[in-house]
C-alpha cells in the first residue's frame, strides 16, 4: 500500500485521529509520518500531553467563566492564567501559589490527588518529614479507633505527642 501523502513510498503505519468527534484515518510512510509529527524517537511523551493540557479547563463540564477571564498575573514571572491555558506550562514556582486555587481541580484531574507524599529535600528540614509522619500515624490511629483497638490507638497517640513535641523543641513548628 502506498503512502497517502507522498503516493510514492510504501505506507508502514496506519494512523487514526479523532479530533472534535471527526475521525480521520491515514496510511503513511515513515518520512511523511515524521514530517507530520507522528513519529517520535524519544523516551518523552510530554509534547503530546501539552496539547491536551492547553485549554483542558475550557472543556470541563463545570467551568467557571469568571476563572477563565481572570487576568491576574504572577508577580515573579508575569504569567497570567490565559498564558498557562495557551501553553500548558507554568511560568515559575510562585505561579503555583498565585494560581493555586485554579490549579487544584486540574491537578485532581491529572493525578487524582493534589498532595505530595514522596521525597522531601533535606534543606526543607526534618520538620516537614515529621509532619508527614504525623499525618500517616493519624490515619493509622483513626483506623484503630474504628476497629476499637484502643490500646494500639493510645500508643500511636503518645507517638504523635512525642513527634509534635520534637517539632516544638526544634523551634520550627507549624
Amino acid at each position: 500500500m502506498l503512502c497517502d501523502e507522498c503516493k510514492s513510498r510504501t505506507a508502514c503505519m496506519h494512523i487514526i485521529k479523532i479530533v472534535n468527534n471527526q475521525k480521520t484515518e491515514k496510511n503513511l510512510c515513515a518520512e511523511c509520518a515524521k514530517a507530520a509529527g507522528e513519529i517520535s524517537l524519544s523516551f518523552d511523551t510530554q509534547s503530546y500531553v501539552h496539547d491536551f493540557l492547553k485549554g483542558i479547563f475550557n472543556h470541563g463540564l463545570f467551568v467557571d467563566p469568571q476563572m477563565l477571564r481572570g487576568q491576574e498575573s504572577c508577580s515573579e514571572c508575569g504569567m497570567t492564567y490565559t498564558d498557562f491555558n495557551r501553553k500548558g506550562k507554568v511560568g515559575c514556582s510562585a505561579c503555583y501559589t498565585v494560581f493555586g486555587g485554579q490549579f487544584e481541580p486540574l491537578l485532581k484531574r491529572i493525578h487524582g490527588s493534589s498532595s505530595h507524599t514522596g521525597k522531601i529535600p533535606k534543606r526543607n528540614g526534618g520538620t516537614l518529614k515529621i509532619r508527614q509522619q504525623i499525618k500517616k500515624i493519624r490515619q493509622q490511629l483513626e483506623q484503630y479507633v474504628i476497629n476499637e483497638e484502643y490500646e494500639k490507638a493510645v500508643l500511636l497517640r503518645d507517638e504523635i505527642k512525642n513527634l509534635e513535641k520534637e517539632i516544638g523543641l526544634n523551634g520550627k513548628g507549624e
Binding site: 517520535s40 524517537l41 523516551f43 508575569g78
Partner: protein, 355 residues
C-alpha cells in the same frame, strides 16, 4: 568516555548485554524533573536567567566528581552542531526538545554515560539515569544520589503540598518518570499486544511505540512508563512499574515459547530470512532494518540462530538511525538512497566482522 567517543562510538552503557531480563527489556530509565528556586522556569526565563542556571549547575561539577567518584563532562549544547545533538538523542542521552533549542542549554554527562543531566530543557534540571535491562531500582538510586548532591548546593523549587515544582503540572510531586524499553515481537506476532497494552494502561501506566505512535511500534519496541507523579512515593511508582513490566515480560516469554512450539518451521524461516537480508542487502531503510533486527534478536534469544550473536543488537538499532549514519559518513549531506546504502553496508560489516 571522551566527548569524541560519546559522539562517534555507537555503544553506550545502557546497551550492555547480560542485564536482568535483558532478553526482553532493553533498558530502564529514571528521570527526575527539578527547578532552582527563585528563577522562572526555562520557557519563561530570559537569556540572562537561563545562563545563570547553566553556571550554577556547572559549579556542581566538582561536587558530582568527588561524591560520585567519576568524571562528569560538561557539554555546552550551543557549541555542538545540530547533527551531533541529534546523535545524542538517538543514543537517548538527551531528549529531542533539548536538541532542538541549544541556546543557553547544556548537559552534564557521567563518564560511564549512565547519568546525564539536561540543563534548561523543560525544567532547569532533568536528571536522567539509563541502565541496561530491567534495572529500575539501581537507576533510581543513582539518579537520587545525583539529586541529593545538587540539592545540597542549590535550593530547589519545592512546596510542601505539591512536592517538587515543575514547568508542566503532569510532572509535579516526585518529578519522577520511570520508563522501560521492551522488545515484544512475539506478543505482536500472536496478536496479543493490544490486550496487553490495554491492561497496562488500566494500571495507570503509559505505553508507546519507541519509534512510532500507538501500538504499531517499529522494531516491536515499546516504552512503558508511569503516568502519575503526585500522591505516590517514588518507591510506589517504581514498584508498580516493575511489577507490571515483570508480567509483560512473562507474557512475552510465554508467547515466544508458544510461537516456537506451534510454528517452529515458520519462525525459523522468518528469523533466517531476516538474517539473510541483513547480511546481504545492499540498500535498506531504517524501518526495514529495525523490523529485521527485531526478528533476528528474537531468533537469537530463542536459540534459533547463533550467527551474528557477537553483535550487540541494541547498538545496531542505534547505528542504523539516520543522524548517526550521517555522523559516520564523510559526505556533508547524505541523500535518502546513500543513507540506505551506508546502513546496509554497516550492518553487513557488523554481522561479518567479529571485532
Amino acid at each position: 568516555m571522551s566527548m569524541e567517543n560519546l559522539l562517534d562510538q555507537p555503544f553506550v552503557h545502557w546497551m550492555s548485554s547480560g542485564a536482568q531480563d535483558g532478553d526482553i527489556v532493553l533498558a530502564s530509565r529514571i528521570r527526575l524533573a527539578r527547578n532552582l528556586e527563585g528563577i522562572p522556569f526555562p520557557q519563561r526565563a530570559n537569556g540572562e536567567q537561563l545562563s545563570q542556571v547553566v553556571s550554577q549547575l556547572k559549579s556542581s561539577l566538582c561536587d558530582l566528581n568527588s561524591n560520585e567518584q567519576s568524571d562528569y563532562m560538561f557539554i555546552d549544547l550551543e557549541k555542538l552542531p545540530l547533527l551531533e545533538r541529534l546523535v545524542l538523542v538517538e543514543k537517548h542521552i538527551i531528549s529531542p526538545d533539548h536538541a532542538r533549542e541549544a541556546s543557553n542549554r547544556a548537559i552534564l554527562v557521567k563518564q560511564d554515560t549512565t547519568v546525564s543531566i539536561m540543563v534548561n530543557e523543560e525544567d532547569h534540571l532533568r536528571i536522567q539515569c539509563l541502565m541496561p535491562g530491567l534495572n529500575l531500582v539501581k537507576a533510581f538510586t543513582s539518579a537520587n544520589q545525583v539529586d541529593d548532591i545538587i540539592e545540597n548546593k542549590h535550593a530547589l523549587a519545592f512546596n510542601e503540598e505539591l512536592g517538587y515544582l515543575t514547568s508542566c503540572p503532569t510532572n509535579l510531586g516526585t518529578g519522577l518518570r520511570a520508563s522501560v524499553m521492551v522488545h515484544l515481537p512475539a506478543l505482536v506476532l500472536t496478536g496479543q499486544i493490544n490486550r496487553i497494552v490495554n491492561a497496562v494502561i488500566q494500571l495507570g501506566l503509559t505505553v508507546r511505540g519507541l519509534y512510532g505512535e500507538g501500538t504499531e511500534a517499529v522494531g516491536n519496541i515499546f516504552q512503558i512508563s508511569n503516568q502519575l507523579t503526585l500522591g505516590f512515593t517514588e518507591q510506589e511508582i517504581i514498584d508498580n512499574l516493575y511489577s507490571v513490566v515483570k508480567q509483560v515480560v512473562d507474557h512475552e516469554r510465554t508467547a515466544r515459547g508458544g510461537l516456537y512450539a506451534d510454528t517452529t518451521d515458520m519462525l525459523v524461516d522468518r528469523v533466517w530470512r531476516a538474517y539473510g537480508t541483513l547480511k546481504y542487502a545492499r540498500s535498506i531503510s531504517g524501518q526495514e532494518a529495525l523490523a529485521l533486527l527485531s526478528d533476528v534478536r528474537m531468533g537469537y534469544e530463542l536459540g534459533i540462530i547463533n550467527e551474528g550473536s557477537h553483535c550487540n543488537f541494541n547498538e545496531l538499532m542505534v547505528i542504523t538511525r539516520p543522524n548517526f549514519l550521517q555522523k559516520m559518513s564523510d559526505c556533508p549531506e547524505l541523500s535518502g538512497n546513500e543513507r540506505k546504502k551506508l546502513r546496509a553496508q554497516i550492518i553487513r560489516e557488523k554481522l561479518t566482522n567479529k571485532d
